[in-house]
């Protein structure tokens, strides 16, 4: 990491994976609970990368926890403009913590992908994960993100075979999000051996860090995964705490993230 690389979109993400330990990536749904306070709690707890979920009426790849979070957020009146404001304010408070928007295609392209990419860049967003734009439809959003200096972060899954992996990696940057189970968010977790095999296989091809998510809820699960991956993603467990504690969620979220960060960061040393 060079001093000039932090503070920029690509610099923040690569720096997060070059701290000398595996990265903890934390997801929370925008507009569900006191989002600014929760985002601060994620940072204070030790999250290295923040994924801010953009709520959608039809979250087809999500399990009940994140579906309900989407509905609570939309029910509270969250608009795209509000989410961009949350990102802008977060960037002002935390100039060095990478922030990734995660969601579904329609809210991202509805005013034009070019508009969205420019607005996200202006808000200090480092990367975008769009669940329902596979490499085959990259033209819908990818080129606009890349022009705006935002990393298109793609998902790889247990069904992504060796023949397909290069297409998934092509044009993606920041990190690769390995979805460890063929399923929806928050459900069962994969066996550690299968994660280890998959990450090893992906890393033969991938030039970017590999973060593993889906079904990771506890420090006990996260630690062993961090031994084999560059990062661990936790989402539904945090969203469940927001559901349980509502306006008072920041404290419990900070405690969980702190425990997760201890487990992930101490799992192993990596070459910076």
């Amino acid at each position: 990491m060079t001093p000039t690389s932090s503070g920029t979109a690509s610099g923040r993400l690569s720096a997060a994976f070059a701290k000398g330990h595996p990265a903890l990536v934390c997801f929370v749904t925008a507009g569900d609970g006191p989002t600014p306070a929760i985002l601060d709690a994620l940072v204070e707890g030790g999250a290295d990368v923040i994924e801010l979920g953009m709520p959608f009426t039809d979250p087809m790849a999500d399990g009940p926890a994140i579906q309900l979070a989407n509905l609570r957020s939309l029910g509270a009146g969250t608009k795209t403009a509000d989410i961009l404001k949350m990102a802008t304010d977060f960037r002002a408070r935390h100039p060095d913590v990478p922030l990734v928007l995660m969601g579904y295609a329609n809210p991202m392209i509805t005013r034009g992908a070019e508009w969205f990419a420019a607005a996200a860049a202006k808000a200090g967003v480092d990367g975008v994960i769009c669940v329902d734009i596979p490499p085959e439809e990259d033209g819908e959003l990818g080129p606009y993100l890349r022009s705006a200096g935002i990393a298109p972060i793609r998902l790889a899954t247990p069904t992504t075979d060796a023949a397909r992996l290069p297409a998934v990696l092509e044009g993606s940057s920041g990190f690769l999000y390995y979805v460890s189970v063929a399923g929806i968010t928050g459900k069962q977790s994969a066996a550690l051996t299968s994660i280890e095999d998959a990450v090893a296989r992906i890393k033969q091809t991938a030039q970017i860090p590999v973060a593993v998510g889906f079904g990771v809820r506890t420090p006990e699960q996260a630690g062993p995964i961090a031994k084999v991956a560059d990062g661990v993603v936790v989402g539904s467990a945090i969203v469940d705490l927001v559901a349980e504690h509502g306006e008072n969620a920041a404290g419990p979220v900070r405690d969980l993230v702190s425990a997760l960060a201890n487990a992930v960061h101490s799992a192993r040393k990596v070459e910076a």
């Binding site: 009426t57 039809d58 087809m60 790849a61 329609n106 392209i109 329902d132 929806i184």
Partner: protein, 404 residues
């Protein structure tokens, strides 16, 4: 209407599954390899005479095809204009056109070695048709159905259960067709190794819009041949109702390159286009949902709005991508009729022809009622009677204020 007029309207989609700017494969990565497999397998099946022979045999001896082409004399007389003819797909086994597609897809599922079938359903017709073919081929079947629809389509829920299907009520969102489709996609993502998703309409990720259209095109192929045989010429106007658009694309597609044949797709205007409705083409704009790019009812942020129609089979906030394309290039005209007009059309057909239609084709009948009187008496309208109304008598009675 700026798109160039193609030489043929029957060559879509392109290799990437796009109908112009519409269609495509907007799915989670987990599903992508399976979608590609399905396409490969469908390409092989399409040119395999054995597959086609089995499909044709089941349509003839199990479904009861060809369905009749019927001239409706009293309706024609009452409307006082064009001759009105119906393609009688409501006489199919299970009472609607949905079975045509289910036969095709279950044969594909078996070809691919899948051992479990899932489907979504709105009115229940596609659920019943799927449960039927699963019973016929001995495969376990799970049907996702919005809880609201479970309540208003009780007879079809019971039919599905009799046929051995598990019916899962979906309570998310407005608990209707769109939510059932979300839940089916979630199930599929988690069970891709053994599960085949039989999508009921000509929408969803490529190759579904294409293969559903191809299986449903039996409607238009038969109708075209029957018309030529019976009256020696093609109809002047085709009319069909549109939810996702499978019965209409099935009727329209074989006629798309016949320039003399005009086509009218009828969306559900619900309480009216300025109120709650399900007319995606009239009241929506392009977006991405359920694996394809098409016209969607949505707000300024791209959040999907709930469709409304008296017909549970039409209240979907999207439409098949080929219809979006046919609207933009102007080959097909699209209109809409309200719940009230559909109820009038429903009763009109009962009274004049002794046929109780489903509420979905009642929308087509309502459109015929408007357009037939404006056409000369020697002109021919062919409307698709895509389902029978047995399933709807309870909701119709309720709307007419009749206690059963």
């Amino acid at each position: 209407m700026n798109a160039p007029i193609p030489n043929s309207f029957r060559t879509q989609p392109d290799a990437q599954g796009h109908f112009g700017q519409f269609g495509g494969r907007y799915v989670a990565e987990t599903l992508m390899p399976l979608i590609l497999d399905l396409e490969t397998e469908y390409r092989k099946a399409k040119v395999d005479p054995a597959f086609q022979a089995e499909f044709d045999d089941l349509l003839e001896h199990y479904v009861g095809r060809p369905s009749p082409l019927y001239f409706a004399p009293r309706l024609t007389e009452e409307l006082g204009g064009a001759q009105v003819w119906f393609k009688r797909d409501e006489l199919n086994h299970t009472g609607a056109h949905k079975i045509n597609n289910c036969i095709g897809q279950i044969l594909l599922a078996i070809r691919m070695g899948k051992t479990r079938i899932i489907a979504e359903t709105g009115a229940g017709q596609h659920g019943v048709a799927t449960a039927t073919v699963c019973a016929r081929f001995g495969l376990p079947c799970v049907i996702f159905m919005g809880a609201t629809d479970v309540a208003r389509q009780a007879p079809n829920v019971f039919r599905m259960k009799l046929l051995g299907a598990e019916v899962v009520p979906v309570t998310a969102g407005a608990a209707t067709l769109k939510d059932a489709m979300n839940e089916a996609l979630r199930d599929w993502v988690a069970n891709v190794h053994d599960t085949f998703y039989i999508i009921g309409t000509a929408a969803g990720p490529h190759p579904y819009p294409e293969l559903v259209r191809d299986f449903q095109s039996v409607i238009g192929k038969e109708a075209r041949a029957q018309m030529l045989e019976r009256v020696g010429r093609l109809p002047d106007l085709l009319v069909a109702a549109i939810g996702g658009g499978s019965n209409s694309i099935g009727l329209f597609h074989p006629f798309l390159d016949d320039p003399s044949v005009k086509m009218l797709g009828v969306e559900a205007a619900g309480h009216g286009l300025d109120k709650l409705h399900a007319a995606s083409l009239a009241g929506g704009r392009p977006g991405v949902l359920h694996g394809n790019k098409t016209y969607l009812l949505q707000d300024e942020d791209g959040q999907i709005l709930e469709g409304h129609s008296i017909s549970a089979g039409l209240d979907y906030p999207g439409i098949g991508p080929e219809h979006a394309w046919l609207k933009e290039n102007g080959r097909v005209e699209y209109t809409s009729v309200t719940d009230t007009e559909a109820l009038d059309g429903f009763q009109l057909l009962c009274r004049t022809e002794g046929i109780i239609p489903a509420l979905e084709p009642a929308h087509a009948i309502a459109a015929v009622k408007k357009v037939a009187p404006t056409m000369p008496k020697d002109s021919i309208i062919l409307a698709n009677l895509c389902g029978r109304g047995d399933k709807d008598i309870f909701s119709v009675a309720e709307h007419l204020g009749v206690k059963l």
